[in-house]
C-alpha cells in the first residue's frame, strides 16, 4: 500500500472522462496496439513530406523507446505507405535525401523524431505518441482471478459499487470529496481474458461536504442499503444516499459510528489513522488489536471472521476463540471475501506482498483450518492496490488500483473463474 495524495479534484470534463474510458477500452482490445501507430505514422509522414517534398528518399528507422523490436517493421511499413501517399518514395539508396526516424520516448509518452537531411542541412519533425500495455487475468491451480477495469479516474478513489435498478446498472465511485454515478450504456463481448467490458457513462456527481483535512492514507466504504440506495462511511463522517439511483441525493453528518465490516459485525474506525481500532459491535467478547480489514468465512459450525491485524499475522475468530492464520506471511493489508462456484465456495482476495518495483499482486486464498492456501496465481497489478472491498452481491471484490505509470486510479471488479 502506497500513500495517496488527496488533493481536491481538478475538474475533468465529461468529454475528457469519456475519452479516458474509451482509451482504457482500446488498450484492452486485441490488435489495438497496432492500430495505435496509424495516426502518429500518418502525422509524421505528413510532416516529413512537408520538409522533404515528393521524390526518392532513403529511410532508416531506429528504436530508442520501450517498443518491442517486433513492432518496428510494422511501423516502418506504415511510414513507407503513408509517405508514398505524399509522393515520397522510400528505397532509392542513391537519393540525396535521407530520413532518419527515431522512435524515442519522453516523460509524456512516445516521441517520434524525423531528421530530414538534404546536403548539409538537417530539418526536424516530431510527433508525440501514446504508449501503453495490458494484462488481465491470472490462472492458478484451482481458479483464475479475472479482473475487469470498470473506469479510470484521475483522482483518488476509495471504493466503488455496482448497484442495480430495474433494467439498468449503476456504478458508484466513491472519492474523498464526491461520488461519481455512472450508468451502463454498452457492453462489449469477451476478449483476451476480459470477461465483459462495460462502457460506463457519467450521469451524476454528488458532492461530499468533507471539510477537514483528508488523512494521508484515507479510506472509505460504500455499502448498499435495504431501504435507501447506499451508505457511505468516511473517517469522522457518514453519508446516506437517498432518492433512487436515477436521481440521487446525499445527506452527510459528522459521525464516529462503527462501519459494517461483515454481515454481522461493525467496527470503530480510527479517523486519524488508517485502521479499525479493534472495538467491534456486537463484538466477540474479547479484546482485539487494531486491524485493517475483516472478512467472513462461512463454516459448518458458524462463520469465522478473519481480521487482518495491523501489527501481526492475520487472526481468525472462531467460536469466540482467536487463532493466528498460517501461510499468510506475505499478505498485504487488504483482503476481501468473495463467493464463487469454485473450491469451498468462499475465497479471500488478498493484496499480496511483493517488490514495489514489480507492482502489487492480488491472489485468491482459501482458509482450511488455520492455513491460508493459495488457490490462484498472483494477478499482477501495474501499480498499487489502494483499496479492496467486497462487492455488493458478494460474488466479486472491488479493487482500487493506482497505476504506476500514470498515477490514475482504476476501479476493478475481480471475479473467480473455476479452472
Amino acid at each position: 500500500m502506497e500513500r495517496a495524495r488527496y488533493n481536491p479534484p481538478q475538474q475533468m470534463n465529461f468529454r475528457a472522462r469519456l475519452l479516458v474510458a474509451a482509451a482504457a477500452l482500446a488498450f484492452l482490445l486485441p490488435g489495438a496496439l497496432a492500430a495505435n501507430w496509424e495516426q502518429p505514422s500518418a502525422d509524421l509522414a505528413r510532416q516529413i513530406a512537408a520538409l522533404a517534398g515528393p521524390g526518392p528518399v532513403q529511410l532508416t528507422v531506429e528504436n530508442r523507446s520501450s517498443l518491442s523490436p517486433n513492432e518496428i517493421p510494422l511501423i516502418r511499413r506504415m511510414l513507407e505507405r503513408d509517405l508514398r501517399g505524399y509522393g515520397v518514395l522510400v528505397g532509392d539508396s542513391g537519393s540525396a535525401t535521407t530520413i532518419r526516424v527515431t522512435l524515442s520516448q519522453n516523460a509524456q509518452g512516445g516521441l517520434w523524431v524525423a531528421e530530414v537531411r538534404e546536403g548539409t542541412e538537417t530539418r526536424v519533425a516530431m510527433v508525440p505518441v501514446r504508449l501503453d500495455l495490458p494484462a488481465d487475468a491470472a490462472a492458478g491451480p484451482n481458479l483464475t482471478l479475472q479482473r475487469t477495469v470498470l473506469v479510470t479516474e484521475p483522482d483518488p478513489v476509495l471504493d466503488a459499487q455496482v448497484l442495480s435498478a430495474p433494467g439498468q446498472q449503476f456504478l458508484l465511485v466513491l472519492e474523498p470529496a464526491r461520488i461519481l454515478v455512472y450508468t451502463q450504456s454498452t457492453t462489449l463481448p469477451a476478449t483476451a481474458g476480459v470477461a465483459v467490458i462495460a462502457h460506463w457513462t457519467e450521469a451524476q456527481i454528488l458532492a461530499i461536504p468533507y471539510d477537514r483535512a483528508f488523512p494521508r492514507d484515507m479510506r472509505g466504504r460504500m455499502i448498499a442499503a435495504q431501504d435507501h440506495p447506499f451508505d457511505v462511511y468516511l473517517p469522522g463522517m457518514e453519508c446516506r444516499g437517498t432518492g433512487n439511483l436515477l436521481q440521487l441525493a446525499l445527506t452527510c453528518s459528522d459521525s464516529d459510528d462503527p462501519w459494517p465490516i461483515t454481515t454481522t459485525q461493525k467496527a470503530f474506525y480510527n479517523s486519524a489513522r488508517d485502521y479499525f481500532t479493534g472495538v467491534l459491535v456486537p463484538g466477540f467478547g474479547m479484546e482485539l488489536a487494531p486491524f485493517y480489514e475483516a472478512a467472513e468465512i462461512p463454516r459448518a459450525v458458524g462463520p469465522a471472521t478473519l481480521l487482518n491485524d495491523v501489527n501481526g499475522p492475520p487472526l481468525l475468530v472462531v467460536n469466540n476463540q482467536l487463532e493466528p492464520v498460517n501461510g499468510a506471511g506475505d499478505w498485504g493489508s487488504d483482503v476481501a471475501a468473495l463467493h464463487s462456484a469454485c473450491g469451498t465456495g468462499t475465497q479471500l482476495v488478498v493484496s499480496a506482498s511483493g517488490t514495489a518495483a514489480a507492482g502489487d499482486t492480488l491472489r485468491a486464498y482459501e482458509i482450511a483450518g488455520r492455513e491460508a492456501i493459495p488457490v490462484s496465481a498472483p494477478l499482477q497489478v501495474q501499480g498499487t492496490v489502494m483499496a479492496l472491498w467486497p462487492a455488493h452481491d458478494g460474488t466479486e471484490a472491488m479493487a482500487i488500483v493506482r497505476r504506476q505509470d500514470s498515477n490514475a486510479y482504476e476501479v476493478w471488479s475481480v471475479a473467480a473463474n473455476c479452472n
Binding site: 500500500m1 519522453n106 516521441l111 526536424v124 483535512a213 484515507m218 495491523v310
Partner: protein, 443 residues
C-alpha cells in the same frame, strides 16, 4: 523512479526516521525545506502542476495574468491561518534570495518570472508576468517559491507535514504536523544529520544508526556491489561547462572549439563510473525524448581548426564547490582543452573563472517548465515559442548555439535505504518523500 523493495501493506504510524546528508539541512533546494514548507503547487510524477497551497488557478491575457485560489483552512505550524498576504510576501521575497550555488558564491538573485504579485481577495493571489508564461504553475513548485512566515520570535513557520522541533548535536529534528492539510505524516519525527561524510553515512546505515543516506552518482556501482537498497532518481543534475563570453572566449568560434574539445566519454567512464547519461542537451533524454539530436561527439581536429593559430592566452577554470569528484572532472576537462591548444589554469573551487564546471539541479519535471528553469539557471535569455517538443528543441538549439553553456552529463540522485523503511519514494526533485514513508513494525 525506483522504489524500495519491501513487503507492501498499509503504512504504520509512529517512529523516528534518521537521514544523513553531506550538506546543510536548510540549504536552498534542501530536503528539510520541502518537509517544512509548501509551495502553491506540487509536481506530479509526469511533471505537471497539481494543487498544493493553491487549489485552482486560471490564466488570462495570453498566460500573462494568473489567478491562484488558495486552499482554505490551511494553518502555519504556530496555528495562525495562511492568508493571501503571506503568499504575496513570500513570493516577493523569493526574488531577492539567491538560489543554489549562487547562494554559496554570493552571486545575485535569479530573476523571478513575474513583474507583480498582489492580493486580489481573501483567498486569491494574482501574478502578472511580462511575457506569456504557460508553465508558471509548474515553476511555482520550486522550493525557492515556498510559502513561509516568521513568527514573533523570528522563527520560520511553514505549513508542511513537519515542523522544526530543534537543532542539536549536528541534527535537525522535525516533528510531525498533526494538523497538516495533507494529513498527518506516518512518522512521528525525522532527524536530519548534516555534514556527514559519505563513508560515515554508509557505516551508520550498515549498523542501523541511519535509515536513509546519500549515494553520489559515481559511487552507485559500489553501492550496488554492497547490495544496498537503492533509490535512484531520473537524471536531475546537469554537469555543464559555462564559458564567459568575454576575453579569450569573446569569439563564438573559440567557444565552439572548446565545446568540440571536451571528451564526455572519459568523464562518464572514468570520473563518474558510467553513471548518468552523456549529453549535449539542456534536458535529459527521458524528459525531452530528443536530446540525441545534439551531438555529443568529440571533434578535436575541428576544435583545433576553429581555434586556429591564435596564441594560447591563459584561461582560468574552476569547479563548483562540492567535493573532489568535480575537481577531478574539471582537471580532466582542462587536459581536453590543452589538447585543442587552450592553456587552462585551474583556480580554487567556487572562484569565478572564464570556464566554470557547474552542477545545475533540475527541479522541474515537465519539458517546458524544465527548459525554462534550465535556461534561467544558466543565464540564457532564449524565448520558448510554443509548448510542443519541436518548439522546445528549437529554443534549446538556439541557446546552445551560443556555446556559452556546454552540457556534459546528466546525473541522477541516489539514496540508500535501511531495512525498516517502507513506501519511500523519490519526488520528481529527487528528494526522499519522507512524509509518505513509514517504518516497519514487527509482523
Amino acid at each position: 523512479m525506483a522504489l524500495a523493495a519491501s513487503a507492501r501493506t498499509r503504512p504504520h504510524y509512529g517512529g523516528t526516521l534518521r537521514i544523513e546528508i553531506q550538506g546543510d539541512a536548510w540549504a536552498p533546494d534542501s530536503l528539510a525545506r520541502r518537509l517544512v514548507l509548501n509551495t502553491l503547487t506540487d509536481l506530479s510524477d509526469s511533471g505537471t502542476a497539481q494543487p498544493a497551497l493553491a487549489i485552482a488557478w486560471s490564466a488570462q491575457n495570453n498566460d500573462q495574468r494568473w489567478d491562484f485560489q488558495l486552499r482554505p483552512q490551511v494553518r502555519f505550524h504556530d496555528g495562525t491561518p495562511l492568508t493571501a498576504e503571506d503568499v504575496v510576501v513570500s513570493l516577493t521575497s523569493a526574488c531577492a534570495v539567491p538560489m543554489g550555488s549562487a547562494a554559496a558564491s554570493g552571486a545575485p538573485a535569479v530573476a523571478c518570472p513575474w513583474n507583480a504579485v498582489y492580493v486580489a481577495g481573501p483567498s486569491e493571489v494574482v501574478i502578472t508576468t511580462p511575457a506569456p508564461q504557460p508553465d508558471l504553475p509548474e515553476l511555482l513548485a520550486q522550493t525557492r517559491f515556498s510559502v513561509s512566515k516568521q513568527d514573533d520570535t523570528g522563527q520560520l513557520e511553514g505549513t508542511g507535514p513537519f515542523r522544526v522541533a530543534g537543532f542539536s548535536g549536528g541534527a535537525l529534528t522535525l516533528a510531525a504536523n498533526d494538523d497538516c492539510w495533507q494529513g498527518r505524516p506516518f512518522l512521528d519525527s525525522v532527524e536530519i544529520f548534516t555534514h556527514r561524510a559519505i563513508r560515515d553515512q554508509w557505516l551508520d546505515l550498515s549498523v542501523g544508526r541511519a535509515d536513509v543516506v546519500q549515494i553520489p552518482p559515481e559511487m552507485l556501482g559500489q553501492a550496488q556491489q554492497q547490495h544496498l537498497d537503492i533509490l535512484v532518481s531520473q537524471p536531475l543534475d546537469l554537469l555543464a561547462l559555462t564559458l564567459d563570453a568575454q576575453g579569450s572566449f569573446a569569439d563564438p568560434a573559440m567557444r565552439q572549439a572548446a565545446a568540440l574539445a571536451v571528451d564526455r566519454a572519459s568523464l562518464y567512464n572514468v570520473i563518474f563510473q558510467k553513471q548518468g547519461e552523456i549529453t549535449a542537451s539542456l534536458l535529459p533524454e527521458p524528459l525531452s525524448g530528443y536530446s540525441f539530436l545534439f551531438s555529443t561527439d568529440r571533434d578535436l581536429m575541428r576544435a583545433r581548426t576553429l581555434r586556429g593559430g591564435a596564441p594560447a592566452r591563459p584561461i582560468t577554470m574552476s569547479a563548483d564547490p562540492g567535493g573532489g569528484t568535480l575537481q577531478l572532472a574539471a582537471e580532466r576537462l582542462a587536459l581536453n582543452l590543452d589538447e585543442a591548444g587552450f592553456a587552462v589554469q585551474m583556480a580554487p573551487p567556487g572562484t569565478p573563472s572564464t570556464l566554470d564546471l557547474r552542477i545545475v539541479h533540475l527541479d522541474e519535471a515537465s519539458p517546458l517548465a524544465a527548459l525554462d528553469e534550465m535556461l534561467t539557471r544558466l543565464g540564457q535569455t532564449v524565448t520558448v515559442n510554443g509548448t510542443d517538443p519541436h518548439a522546445l528543441w528549437l529554443a534549446e538549439r538556439t541557446a546552445l548555439q551560443n556555446y556559452t553553456v556546454v552540457p556534459l552529463l546528466w546525473l541522477p540522485r541516489a539514496w540508500a535505504v535501511g531495512e525498516r523503511v517502507r513506501d519511500l519514494r523519490l519526488s520528481p526533485h529527487g528528494e526522499p518523500q519522507l512524509a509518505d514513508a513509514s517504518l516497519e513494525a514487527a509482523r
